[in-house]
Symmetry: C2
Subunit: 559 residues, 2 copies
């Protein structure tokens, strides 16, 4: 690679899409443009009361055009013609009903305002009943348990549950939907001008983690399985896909229309899409047998291992294991905690009660001051708790908490489980409780690491990226002490988009493979947290208490 080359990483998050324009030789991020989905922001097509969350394809399209054009504009003249590839990551499973041309129904006349014709966002939980049926059916139908490589428990957040739910609920969609496409597969199809849904190159990541696709059973679950689940699914399998692709593969080149809309050359390659956490792991510096943790409101934990050694091994109790879902040739294993930062946010919300209810209704203050005071308190509360919690010696408070306030995703998914705070006395103040909650989230992380190790997957290092690793040295030090491992924190602020850029560079053949792209383009690590041996020893004892408390809660929940 002797000449300048640039690539674009597009990262579709829950609230916004981000374009990062990257120097493909150095990994330098030239521009970083964010676009908030306008319809989503206005609350359209959603009903939080029933956990219905839908996104309109126009939100995605407008964001695509705006962020890429604005990136190019900010980068200055001469850059646009050197852009060689685009790759896309998205949330998921976020499927949409499409017509036979692969066009989302909401873009067709008559369906513009129908939420069922839009993308069913990852966190939409309207398909709880359908997920339950899939789980029961998979165990009882007499054939293969197709959920086995997806952690053994199919979720209402996933592909088939959502499809079945919408098909049952909406006769219009039932008649008009020819097939279904994941968000991460649709954007590349859109960009490359696909006109037949059968020509869409489906990503291995989404298919393997959410659609029960596996090579060993010839792709998607059998027609028999699906029809027995519900006759409404008859024939759909053949209108979906049988082949899947890793994201180092080009899905094609930009269509003339989109080359023009974005201001790019038509020769620009478009990678096969994947989910944000998986590309984020690569962007964050993942290596084989490293546990890469994306830590925010919840966590997504990714480990890769060579297919030739681990391809046939079943890893008990994780969320999923898919050949090539992260890096081609590697088994991509996913685990995660249902709540991490969300637990701190929950405690903050509990503590805000007197501020919102009483200070917020006091006759002593004007309404302007009240609003500012509530905002100030909400903003300062976690930093203040953190400062105070840091002063509490480990094991001094006696408080032990369990982090299942949003159920347990891994190890061994169980959404019925709940959180707990024990060891309370009349001196247990808010900072001590907060410290115990932080420790509980770290213990939850430890359970996942231990499970990988117990299942024969050695963990040779830990990498952390996302909001919390950047923002909270306190949480990270507790995590390092609890895991008793050093933790590397990724430097890039936009690891998902950077990861997408690496896949773009690979798809454009700027590098022989993703590993080479990652090696050249990685931003490296900004910090390494080292465990304190004394702390690690104290936490070992608390971790055992956490484990026993967890066992009690599990037993109570199943009784």
């Amino acid at each position: 690679m002797s000449e300048d080359a640039y690539v674009i990483g597009l990262d579709y998050g829950t609230d916004s899409v981000r374009s990062v324009l990257v120097n493909a030789m150095t990994g330098e991020e030239l521009t970083n443009v964010v676009f908030e989905y306008p319809r989503w922001k206005a609350g359209k097509y959603c009903d939080p009361a029933v956990n219905r969350f839908r996104q309109h394809p126009l939100d995605y399209m407008e964001g695509l055009e705006y962020t890429v054009r604005e990136s190019i504009r900010q980068a200055g003249t001469g850059i646009a013609e050197k852009i060689r590839a685009i790759a896309v990551d998205t949330t998921g499973s976020t499927p949409v009903a499409v017509d036979s041309a692969g066009i989302p129904l909401a873009l067709n006349k008559g369906f513009e305002e129908n939420p069922n014709a839009m993308f069913v966002l990852w966190k939409d939980h309207t398909a709880v009943q359908e997920a339950g049926e899939i789980n029961q059916h998979a165990r009882s139908w007499g054939g293969i348990d197709y959920t086995q490589y997806e952690g053994g428990i199919y979720s209402s957040e996933w592909f088939w549950a959502k499809i079945l739910h919408v098909l049952r609920e909406d006769k219009d969609i039932r008649q008009a939907a020819y097939s279904w496409v994941e968000h991460c597969d649709w954007i590349p199809a859109l960009l490359t001008g696909v006109r037949d849904v059968h020509d869409i190159k489906r990503g291995r990541c989404a298919a393997g983690h959410k659609a029960m696709w596996h090579e060993s059973w010839g792709g998607l679950p059998s027609e028999e399985f699906l029809v027995k689940l519900d006759p409404l699914l008859a024939g759909l399998r053949d209108r979906l896909f049988s082949e899947t692709y890793t994201s180092d593969v080009s899905a094609g080149q930009l269509s003339p229309e989109w080359a023009s809309r974005l201001g790019l050359k038509p020769e620009v390659a478009v990678s096969v899409g994947a989910f944000d956490a998986h590309m984020g792991a690569v962007g964050g510096g993942s290596k084989p047998f490293y546990l890469t943790k994306i830590v925010g409101t919840s966590t997504c934990d990714v480990v890769t291992a060579p297919m030739d050694k681990f391809g046939n091994k079943f890893i008990q109790g994780i969320c999923g294991q898919v050949d090539g879902s992260v890096v081609p040739g590697m088994l991509g294993m996913e685990a995660g905690q249902s709540a991490f930062g969300d637990i701190y946010a929950w405690f903050k919300q509990v503590l805000m009660y007197p501020v919102e209810r009483i200070v917020g209704s006091s006759d002593l203050l004007s309404s302007d001051i009240k609003t500012r005071l509530i905002d100030e308190t909400a903003g300062r509360l976690i930093p203040e708790l953190t400062r105070a919690a840091e002063q509490v010696p480990i094991d001094e408070s006696g408080i032990v908490a369990v982090d299942w306030m949003n159920g347990r995703r891994t190890p061994d998914a169980n959404q019925m489980l709940k959180g707990a705070v024990t060891g309370l006395n009349l001196g247990s103040d808010a900072p001590k409780i907060f410290r115990a909650l932080v420790e509980a989230t770290a213990f939850g992380a430890r359970k996942i690491m231990d499970r990988f190790i117990d299942e024969g997957v050695p963990i040779e290092g830990v990498i952390a990226l996302g909001g919390i690793p950047k923002k909270s040295p306190f949480v990270m030090q507790v995590l390092a002490d609890v895991l008793n491992r050093p933790i590397l924190v990724t430097r890039s602020e936009q690891a998902c988009a950077l990861g997408a850029a690496m896949f773009a560079a690979a798809a454009a053949k700027l590098y022989p493979d993703v590993d080479a792209a990652q090696a050249a383009m990685s931003s490296g690590f900004e910090h390494e947290y080292h465990p304190d041996p004394g702390n690690a020893k104290k936490y070992q004892r608390l971790y055992e208490k956490y484990s026993r408390l967890g066992e009690f809660i599990e037993k109570e929940t199943s009784s």
Copy 2:
């Protein structure tokens, strides 16, 4: 009783003493005068950091004189000469070192400012080590376990532990202390002009519940036991007492000096003293086989049963059982929860964190407004939580708490135990948690009631008095539903002082016995809470969860 007769009930609490002047025929409370201890209020002689709490005898004497004289003044002319008796209840165990004349050392020259020469208040915990030694010694010395009728676990709050602690710590006291007297025994001795400590009539209540006095082993623990515990105790047993008296007995008549100081006739009888909760139970309307609950920051639960049926029965796991400690001829059984209202106060304190720390330091407010805002929030918080918690359906939140934030007093005392809150999810808000804490305190009460029943003491009714029964219909309804029993709430605001007045009337022979005095003078009940059968059924299931969680915590604590 054909003529007008009045009696005075004196109730020495933690912060103040109260005199109630009562019509001995009707129980009508004519006056009610409170005196706050001035030295105590100024924080003198105490060190909360080491749980040292001492009270100066002058605080008690000044309060005695002020409240009685003021009562008489307020009652108007003609009443003083009709006053026939005084009875005293106090906190306890609250002993003081005295000289051979029965005078507290702090009233003697050279000891005026020595905290060890003052009353060691019930909540003083400086004798933790001594209590531990007593417990170990009682199990291992080879003779009788003298703790058996006091619940089997001797407390640092009690008589012998405190004496031993002070004797070890203070050489001056060691040399000057001839004997020791409980607060409830000293006030009658003072009033009746006792000049020799051996003439003090010791109350059965304090002796039996706190000094390991029991008829079956001839009074106090043997000299051998005491000397083996610590040679410092040698000879003390003979300088203490062997006889004890119930509070229907007159300790004597007012001394001329005190008759004059109080403005009363010298013929006024003075009852033998007792502890507040025991006289409070009588004042509150206790009956045999009724569970009388004095509910405030903690609870004191009293049951009486005929000695002829229950005198020889050992009741496992309660705080103590003493012949005549409540009513003569009845076995007085005591139990209690280490924290009740204190748990609500703890949660309030946790929630106040952002208000005190952040609102309290905000630049948006003047310091005057901050103070008022914090006060307003603290004042409105529990009522606001109560209102919101009442709206939460039983069993909807899934939260189950255990109420051992201050250890567990009964059943089966264990101060190492701690509290817990389980079943938490991201929707568990402050009112839901508060509701679970209220339910937990009710479950703790249920455990005590169940224990009495399991030990063969039938509970035929429940009576509640104290701050919480008067203030919180919500808590009382939860309690009635959890106990699945109607609960009578005592009408009198001053049940302890009223109970003392009943004993005064009995000691003055205005009635043949305390039962007759209680029947005539009781203020009755102001309300009866009835259990809702549907709620009781739901709570039965939650109570089982509470029990299993408690078992887990006990197991964890002992491991």
